[in-house]
Amino acid sequence: MPMKRIFLHTLTIRVWHWMNDLIVVLLAITSFQLRIPDLALFGAYRSAVLIHKYAGYAMAASFMFWLGYSLLSGNIRYNYVFRRKDLAGLFPQARFYLLGIFKGEANPFVPAAKAKFNGLQKIAYMSTMFIFTPLIILTGIVLSDIFYFRTLIYSIFGGPRLVDAFHVAVAYVFLVYMLIHMYMAIFLGTRLSHVKSMIFGYEEEPVPENSEGEPEQPVSGKPQ
């Protein structure tokens, strides 16, 4: 099977990804201690509270950076917007994850610099970046000072407990997402190719004979 080397992730996105990853891991670990204080993952509860708070602010900044960069660079336009072509690819992709993968079939989707994600990925990343991340950031900011945001809390949510409920519910969605994301990133590529691509930018993948993805030569130009 021919292999090809594709440039997928710009340096900016790679640096952002790992920074964001660090923030999310910090938030996830501290969140467990906040919810179940007996776990004492960070020693003093106070440390967990403070780390969670400031990591939360960092997350907000990180998201704003990603949004600005992605809008300007075309990342959203090329990689996130769901197109008709993606719809057709949904079933084969799901079939691949549930059946084909066990038979050693090749991934029906081959990423390209201007089309990084398959339909399922687009749904997962779109909902994460445009629904869950903004929701968890907004509820988190509101919870960081419920006095200051009291009017907002009452007019939109009705009370702090509901804000908390939203925040925690979305946090569970994030945890589920993170586990699946990590599994797929580590175990679905060829020899950690997905992880490597997020470090070095290039991904090396076998190209199936009848792939829908356009065969592409190694790209040295400016990817999106």
Binding site: I36, R46, F102, I146, R161, L162
Partner: protein, 389 residues
């Protein structure tokens, strides 16, 4: 003749008052000479004494004739309600000018023996804050249970003005001070409780419902008898609170809320324990926190407040709109018992139980989802390895 008699009768009281002078009184009551009241004549208070020797038992003089404001204030204090009069504390005849009217430990200890004994061993006392009246004003004193957290803190903050600066280490400092009083930490031997009360939203603020609010909304008859029933039982069940909430909501709509705070319900009068070294959050932010052991519903009564022990749990397991304002991180939302309950109960009870779980569903569903993922992800991997081989 009649005119002469009229003049005589009119003059008689004056003549008789003048008949008993202060000097004459002091002839027997010499010890009263240095009293703060010595500027007055004895008959200003004991007007009924018209001759000497007078009756052995004289009627009680009314202090309010001169100390009107003070007496009015005093009459609404718990001291007056318990039947204590001015004379129980103030010895009006021996009150001397230099000591002024200040009443202190030697007087207070007559009734508050245990409290004074504890206080005498506290750092406050040892460091020179020896006077009870330094913190308490006996003329408008309320029972401890009548004071809310803010009023209790106001007592401490008269001296400890920079308390917020000293507690900067505490995340969300001001939030803590809204729901806690100083004694929560600085009097570890006091009993702490989580107390619930009905309040109404007023713009950005919340005001606890008063007795007037209750009677205004509940009216007389059936509804108020429900309240009376709760009071008679001396305990509030979760069903009581839910029913009361529903009735009050008809009057106040969305402005009604059930609020909570942590209050000291049994005072140990040593408020000088420094806990700076501990600074541990999980004494409270844990399901093991002591205040979950004693929870109360506070209902305003005609005089003071009623503290009704709450049976069962309130946190997180109540209808959504009821506990919107109560959220305490780290309360350890789900327990083994919650999960057991789902499987062990009969079908009818289970339906009710599912409703009662309320906000706990977030954690139950969330953790179930996580477990499913943790099961299926390795399964996917193992199957891949096995089948591909």
């Amino acid at each position: 003749m009649f005119i002469l008699l009229f003049v005589f009768l009119c003059c008689f009281p004056v003549v008789s008052h003048a008949a008993v002078s202060t000097e004459e009184c002091l002839g027997c009551h010499e010890a009263y000479k240095g009293s703060v009241h010595s500027e007055l004549s004895c008959t200003d208070c004991h007007g009924e004494v018209t001759k000497i020797p007078h009756a052995e038992k004289l009627p009680k003089p009314s202090c309010s004739e001169c100390h009107d404001d003070m007496v009015k204030r005093f009459n609404s204090s718990v001291h007056a309600i318990k039947g204590i009069g001015c004379k129980e504390c103030h010895d009006v005849h021996f009150l001397n000018k230099t000591a002024k009217q200040r009443i202190d430990a030697p007087v207070c200890v007559r009734c508050h023996k245990e409290t004074c004994a504890v206080y005498d061993n506290s750092a406050h006392y040892k460091k020179g804050a020896v006077s009870c009246t330094g913190c308490h004003n006996p003329h408008n004193i309320k029972t401890y249970k009548e004071l809310n957290a803010n009023e209790r803190m106001a007592v401490c903050s008269r001296c400890h003005k920079n308390y917020t600066d000293k507690h900067r280490w505490l995340p969300n400092t001001m939030l803590h001070f809204t729901y806690l009083e100083c004694a929560t930490c600085h009097s570890p031997r006091s009993e702490k409780s989580m107390v619930f009360f009905f309040a109404r939203r007023e713009g950005q603020k919340k005001a606890p419902l008063t007795f007037g609010d209750f009677t205004g909304i509940l009216g007389s008859g059936g509804k108020i008898s429900m309240l009376a029933q709760i009071e008679r039982d001396r305990v509030a069940t979760s069903a009581d609170i839910e029913a009361l909430f529903a009735v009050l909501q008809k009057g106040l709509g969305r402005d009604l809320l059930l609020d909570a705070s942590i209050l000291v319900t049994k005072v140990y009068h040593d408020h000088s324990v420094k806990v700076a070294a501990e600074e541990s959050c999980d004494r409270c932010h844990s399901k093991e926190a002591s205040f979950y052991e004693s929870m109360y519903l506070i209902l305003p009564a005609q005089q003071g407040n009623l503290y009704l022990p709450v049976k069962g749990t309130l946190l997180s397991s109540y209808p959504l709109q009821m506990v919107l304002d109560i959220v305490l991180i780290g309360q350890g939302k789900i327990k083994q018992a919650d999960i057991d309950g789902l499987f062990k109960l009969g079908p009818n009870e289970r339906a009710n139980y599912i409703k009662e779980l309320g906000y706990k569903w977030i954690d139950l569903v969330g953790l179930a989802l996580l477990l499913l993922v943790l099961f299926f992800v390795p399964l996917h991997l193992v199957l891949r390895v096995l089948i591909c081989r």
